[in-house]
């Protein structure tokens, strides 16, 4: 196994990891290949998504955003634990149990993935340690408390900028040291192969549902599908079902201070060849966003390939625009979006497509402190 064309998306992806991790990635790839077709596993995952996570989530027409257009929100904010992250967390927790691992490590940025992992581990019966940058611990306090209440051990990461990037590095270091007992439950479609594919597949339920729902509501496919991109898991989950629909424009929205697809260059970061904010020497630079979940200098390799192939396009929204969309959606629809998702809403408002699906990846309760400041 190991290095095959399978592990790349065009020129991106692959497996750039210390040799010690290669067998674990092989094991993960084999394990996933085995269970993804297994009827018992599928049933267990379906059951968890339906009776525990609350799927399917609806699409809601947001007439208040713009009465002249038909903007639909795919409501991942209604998932248990408040974001799309639970789709992936449940799938990987069940996979980890199948692989015989008793311990989970994970990183979290905004804390949504950390909460989802802690909940999934509580349900499946696994030990759980969550790495979170110190800056994020401060700005996403409610999620820190939720993680701890759910039985997750929180490990603040003090070095560097104290954001998602350092949290991922630290989770990988933990995994390197404990690889035989531990599964690394990565939260986005980043990292070494097979993670980007595994996460995309577990999140693809978002787009499958949304595609069916919009066809049912409108009798046609949307003109555009819009989602925010940090690492890019909710976007890839929403995009996948529409990749073959040529008339549907796919638009990813990055934070202006974290535009890896807009301004990045090829680097090797967190186990994959991808695009990231970096200097001439390949040194990765700090990103900035008011939304912790977008505050990441890299991006999933599949998005880099979708950009190069032209199948998806990527634009940016700045902090102010996102905050203003956050308030506008709250007042006009009675939905408080996550600051991350507010970037996608802001982008939808700047466009004039008639029929649009916007990924509302999570709810904004966690951001009230940030917005008040």
């Amino acid at each position: 196994m190991s290095v095959t064309a399978e592990s790349f998306f065009g020129a991106y992806g692959g497996r750039y990891v210390p040799e010690v991790l290669v067998p674990a990635l092989d094991e993960l790839e084999r394990g996933w290949a085995e269970v993804r077709g297994d009827a018992t596993f599928r049933r267990e995952l379906e059951d968890a998504l339906t009776t525990y996570a609350g799927r399917p989530t609806p699409i809601s027409r947001a007439a208040g955003l713009d009465p002249t257009r038909r903007i639909y929100l795919k409501r991942e904010d209604l998932c248990h634990t408040g974001a799309h992250k639970i789709n992936n967390a449940l799938g990987q927790a069940l996979l980890a149990r199948f692989l015989g691992k008793r311990r989970i490590v994970a990183e979290t940025g905004a804390g949504q993935h950390g909460v989802a992992v802690a909940a999934a581990c509580a349900r499946v019966g696994l030990e759980c340690e969550i790495y979170m940058g110190a800056t994020d611990v401060e700005r996403q306090r409610p999620n820190v408390e939720r993680i701890e209440l759910l039985g997750g051990k929180l490990r603040p990461v003090e070095h560097g900028a104290g954001t998602l990037r350092e949290a991922i590095s630290e989770a990988i270091r933990d995994w390197v040291a404990n690889v035989e007992t531990t599964h690394y439950l990565i939260g986005s479609c980043v990292g070494p192969h097979p993670y980007p594919k595994l996460v995309a597949e577990l999140q693809s339920v978002i787009g499958r549902e949304a595609r069916g729902q919009i066809l049912e509501a409108e009798g046609r496919l949307p003109d555009a599908v819009i989602a925010c991109v940090g690492g890019g898991s909710n976007a890839i989950g929403l995009f996948e079902a529409f990749l073959g629909d040529e008339g549907v424009e796919l638009i990813g929205v990055e934070a202006a201070g974290a535009a890896s697809l807009g301004e990045g260059r090829p680097v090797v970061l967190h186990g994959a060849r991808t695009l990231a904010l970096a200097d001439d020497d390949g040194q990765v630079e700090d990103a900035h966003s008011v939304a912790a979940g977008l505050d990441y200098p890299g991006v999933g390799p599949q998005h880099a390939e979708l950009r190069d192939s032209g199948r998806a396009s990527y634009i940016t929204v700045d902090d102010e625009q996102a905050l203003s969309a956050f308030r506008f959606l709250s007042r006009s629809e009675g939905i408080i979006p996550a600051l991350e998702s507010a970037h996608a809403v802001a982008a939808a408002l700047q466009r004039d497509d008639e029929l649009v699906v916007v990924g509302l990846s999570g709810r904004g309760d966690k951001d009230l402190g940030v917005v008040a400041r």
Partner: protein, 239 residues
């Protein structure tokens, strides 16, 4: 007699530190070209790396420091870094530039055996590496094989890894190249223990820490203590 490899994070003082290490008995100097997100490294090397980057130790500055070190000492010099630096400069160009500046080989911590075979380098293998990959690494490595003595990151540990003897034995079965072991080795006693198992001992974090705290003098003294501990093993086995 066992080979003693000393790792230093590349700074403007590398030539001077390398001379101190060689005077103390180092046979090979690894020079860490800093990377912003060093996944395989523990706190000591990570912090030294961070400081070096803040002081402007990008690839060009590192190549200059390498060339300066080349004229200061006459032992093999092996840059150790991460794939992102090679990605940015071009893999073959990076290797050629390093060679031109005096490198004998190269180590890339996050480039597994099967990626970029065009870059001749010293391969790393770990306790988790299966037999087939171990054999591939032994066949294609540049001169010697780097045994990562434990499943973990760099940094001093209280004990020599229990995983090392088995790894050394498995590597011996599939390759004739010298085996040097690193990760977690810091005290002279540990160095001696490792020297009894393999052909060379690699010391990283502990050397970086001594150099950072006490400069060339402290590094020289430390390396000399490792050297004599290792040499006693050789004398013991001869007797």
């Amino acid at each position: 007699m066992s080979t003693l490899v000393v790792y230093l994070v590349c700074t403007r003082d590398t030539a001077e530190l390398a001379r101190a290490a060689v005077d103390g008995g180092a046979d090979v100097i690894e020079i860490g070209f800093p990377f912003s997100d060093p996944l395989a490294d523990g706190p000591i090397i990570r912090e030294a790396t961070h400081t070096a980057l803040e002081q402007g130790m990008g690839t060009r500055a590192c190549l200059e420091a390498l060339a300066e070190t080349r004229s200061a000492v006459d032992v093999p010099l092996v840059p150790m870094t991460y794939a992102s630096l090679l990605e940015a400069r071009g893999y073959e160009r990076f290797a050629a530039d390093a060679r031109d500046a005096g490198a004998s080989s190269l180590i890339v911590a996050d480039l597994p055996v099967d990626l970029h075979p065009e870059v001749k380098r010293v391969h790393l293998v770990a306790p988790t590496t299966p037999a087939e990959r171990l054999a591939d690494a032994g066949r294609t490595t540049d001169g010697w094989l780097y045994l990562v003595s434990r499943t973990g990151i760099t940094g001093p540990r209280a004990e020599v890894s229990e995983q090392l003897p088995a790894l050394a034995a498995r590597a011996r079965e599939v390759t004739q190249v010298p085996l040097y072991a690193g990760f977690g080795i810091s005290s002279p006693e540990q160095a001696a223990e490792v020297a009894a198992l393999v052909d060379g001992v690699i010391v990283g974090s502990a050397a970086v820490e001594r150099a950072g705290r006490g400069g060339p003098g402290a590094l020289n003294e430390y390396v000399a203590s490792l050297r004599s501990a290792i040499d006693e093993v050789a004398l013991g086995s001869r007797a």
